[in-house]
């Protein structure tokens, strides 16, 4: 009885008793969810275009953020640093295509996936070597993003909005929208979807596979930069961000692997869910449940709805 009360009644009483806190939780979860969605989109793009489950997406995010801060610390103008990072991301996309993808074309998905784990470790070692492993502060203020915060009084308390969080939501959602348009309306986008459908057919109508791959990896790099910028602003830039970035995987499972709207909805479910669960149900389980909440939800989905909310039904089932 006691336990049932703790699980089913007490948390809701808490929510009603301190509504400002509940809304703060929702807002924080929403910001996190938007960023998860953005990262998940990076996975979806590469998966759709090349069938590669890109495990290195989180480390790309760390690399982009770290490079941005490091360039700035070398005394380079912040916007030129952004340009340099984009250049670096393009070079990386080009290199990945040349060295890895081209050589592994038509290989089994598992092999491609493992090669991105290898890539992850190459990036970890190289980034740590060149930029050092010290946590650094993000340069969002120097880039002109607002830094203050506003209070919104509510129910005798207040909800705090960090301005950087607001800009994160705005920028991330517009990037998501741009990407959605890019892939459904432009020529490159159509080419990409053609590649996703059938490599051979796409090749035969004159779409260059290699070019498409470079483009999607580069777009994934841009996504990584924006994600790294805002996660870095929320906390700091360090290699621990990789673990946060990994949460885009359960987001994908929930949303469905190949679906853009799925990535968005999945991101929001995870972002909101883990915050609310941690605040109201976490303490009774001893706390810090956020680390696995997303994965366990994904596990439940895998058991009962493996194609996710929006995934294509033709998922490889056994």
């Amino acid at each position: 009885m006691e336990i049932l009360h703790m699980i089913f009644i007490a948390p809701f009483l808490d929510m009603v008793a301190l509504p400002d806190l509940f809304f703060q939780g929702l807002w924080d979860g929403f910001v996190g969810g938007t960023l998860y969605a953005l990262l998940a989109l990076g996975f979806v793009l590469i998966f759709k275009a090349s069938g590669v489950f890109n495990f290195s997406q989180p480390i790309l995010m760390v690399l982009a953020a770290l490079a941005l801060v490091s360039f700035y610390e070398m005394g380079i103008n912040p916007w030129i640093s952004v340009a340099l990072v984009l250049l670096l991301m393009y070079a990386l996309a080009f290199g990945v295509e040349r060295v890895i993808l081209r050589n592994l074309v038509n290989q089994d998905g598992n092999i491609l996936f493992m090669s991105t784990i290898g890539l992850t470790f190459v990036i970890i070692g190289a980034a740590q070597w060149i930029f050092g492993g010290v946590p650094r502060s993000m340069i969002h203020a120097e880039l002109g993003f607002p830094v203050g915060s506003s209070e919104w009084p509510m129910f005798g308390g207040a909800v705090y909005f960090e301005h950087i969080d607001i800009s994160a939501v705005v920028l991330a959602s517009s990037l998501i929208a741009i990407l959605a348009v890019f892939f459904s309306k432009t020529k490159i986008g159509r080419g990409l979807r053609a590649v996703a459908d059938d490599h051979q057919a796409a090749l035969s109508v004159g779409i260059s596979l290699n070019q498409i791959w470079v483009i999607v990896w580069f777009v994934a790099g841009i996504v990584a930069l924006v994600g790294g910028l805002f996660w870095g602003a929320r906390s700091d830039v360090s290699f621990a961000l990789q673990i946060i970035g990994l949460k885009a995987l359960p987001v994908l499972i929930i949303g469905g692997f190949t679906s853009v709207p799925g990535a968005i909805i999945g991101g929001l479910i995870i972002g909101l869910g883990e915050k609310i669960f941690e605040i109201y149900w976490g303490p009774m389980m001893g706390g810090s449940v956020e680390g696995w909440f997303a994965y366990v939800i994904a596990l439940v989905f895998l058991l009962f709805k493996p194609q996710g909310l929006f995934g294509e039904k033709i998922i490889e089932r056994v």
Partner: protein
């Protein structure tokens, strides 16, 4: 010239099916046995301090071989990918700890087998989604195992007997009057125990793999639908692969903590260890027992070596060498996947082919 099958005639099927049909192989294995059973325990490794050779090279290598064998069963033979190896090894270690503290008189071997079984059960539970999905969808399921279990290792204080330090520590424990584990056990005793365990488990693995279950794993891996058509039940095949694999990994985890480290926190079973074991499998060669040996030894020994070489020959500091070995491991993975997906084991086979004709290749 020295390594060829000509002139070796088999008169019985039994000989044909032997694990080492060639006379030369038998000699090779014999030499290895003499080395591992007599020479190394007596003299250590050449040029290395004896205790270092045992405690930092031999014992961990053998434990990692068991770990790699376990993961290879799942990944290489059954084709199911897992990133939860670290956590499953933790299940074995915590189970062993609970067994020897709840039943202080329990025989170590029994405790070890039991903890392997506990790990197998947990592995099967997290392997359940593999019935519905495959490939990288499974990664997320095993990641769930990884993060949830390591959380539980910290959160469930019962697992470490409410120790203030939150760690599990190996008490001194005897078997047949010899102290096997704990601070007072001799390095040599632990070495022999791990060695014998390794040999038994290798023998078991090679037989299971060549047997009915093993073949069903490979069929599922190569083409699941066809396998199902000819009467393989995917449920049994997949879950038995998870069970077998986790059994090995659990035993390796228990050995790692109690026969090598001496004490461990949840940190010893984190996701980075899962990656490390995955690397051992890939570099050694997917679906090969010899490969498991080579991969584990390579991944464990090479960073130790390059660290030392970098320090003594070039004067690089640890920071540089550590990053260098990370890059090297990552690059090795990519190169091996591109050039030789069957890893070091395949290279070894090629070498054997060459040896057959050597020194007159034409």
């Amino acid at each position: 010239m020295f390594y060829k099958e000509t002139g070796q005639f088999k008169s019985r099927y039994k000989d044909e099916l032997a694990a080492f049909p060639l006379f030369e192989d038998k000699i090779g294995i014999g030499i290895l046995c003499v080395l591992t059973f007599l020479v190394i325990p007596m003299f250590g490794l050449p040029g290395l301090n004896y205790e270092f050779a045992m405690g930092a090279i031999m014992i961990p290598c053998m434990i990692f071989i068991i770990m790699t064998l376990g993961l290879n069963i799942l990944l290489g033979f059954a084709g199911q990918i897992s990133l939860g190896t670290g956590a499953f090894s933790g299940v074995g270690a915590y189970a062993f700890y609970k067994f020897i503290t709840i039943f202080p008189d329990i025989n170590i071997i029994i405790a070890l087998v039991l903890s392997g079984l506990v790990s197998a059960v947990v592995g099967v539970i997290f392997g359940l989604p593999s019935l519905k999905i495959k490939g990288f969808y499974l990664i997320v399921a095993t990641l769930a195992a990884q993060f949830f279990l390591t959380w539980a290792f910290i959160r469930v204080a019962w697992l470490y007997n409410y120790n203030a330090s939150g760690a599990i520590e190996g008490p001194n424990k005897e078997m047949f009057g010899i102290i096997m584990i704990g601070p007072q056990s001799a390095g040599m005793t632990r070495y022999y125990f791990v060695l014998v365990t390794l040999i038994v488990l290798t023998w078991l693995a090679s037989n299971v793999i060549r047997g009915r279950i093993g073949r069903s794993w490979m069929m599922i891996r190569d083409m699941d639908i066809a396998a199902e058509l000819i009467g393989i039940r995917p449920l049994v095949a997949k879950l038995s692969a998870f069970a077998f694999s986790s059994f090995y990994i659990g035993i390796a985890g228990a050995l790692m903590v109690f026969f090598w480290l001496g004490a461990a926190e949840a940190e010893s079973f984190d996701i980075n260890h899962s990656f490390l074991y995955l690397f051992m499998v890939i570099i050694g060669g997917l679906g090969s027992i010899t490969g498991s040996y080579m991969g584990a030894i390579f991944v464990w020994v090479v960073p130790v070596l390059i660290k030392e070489i970098g320090k003594s020959a070039f004067g690089f500091d640890a920071f540089v060498m550590e990053n260098f070995s990370t890059i090297l491991l990552g690059a090795m993975i990519i190169i091996i996947l591109i050039l030789e997906p069957h890893g070091l084991a395949r290279l070894w086979q090629i070498a054997k082919q060459k040896l057959r004709l050597w020194p007159f290749p034409y």
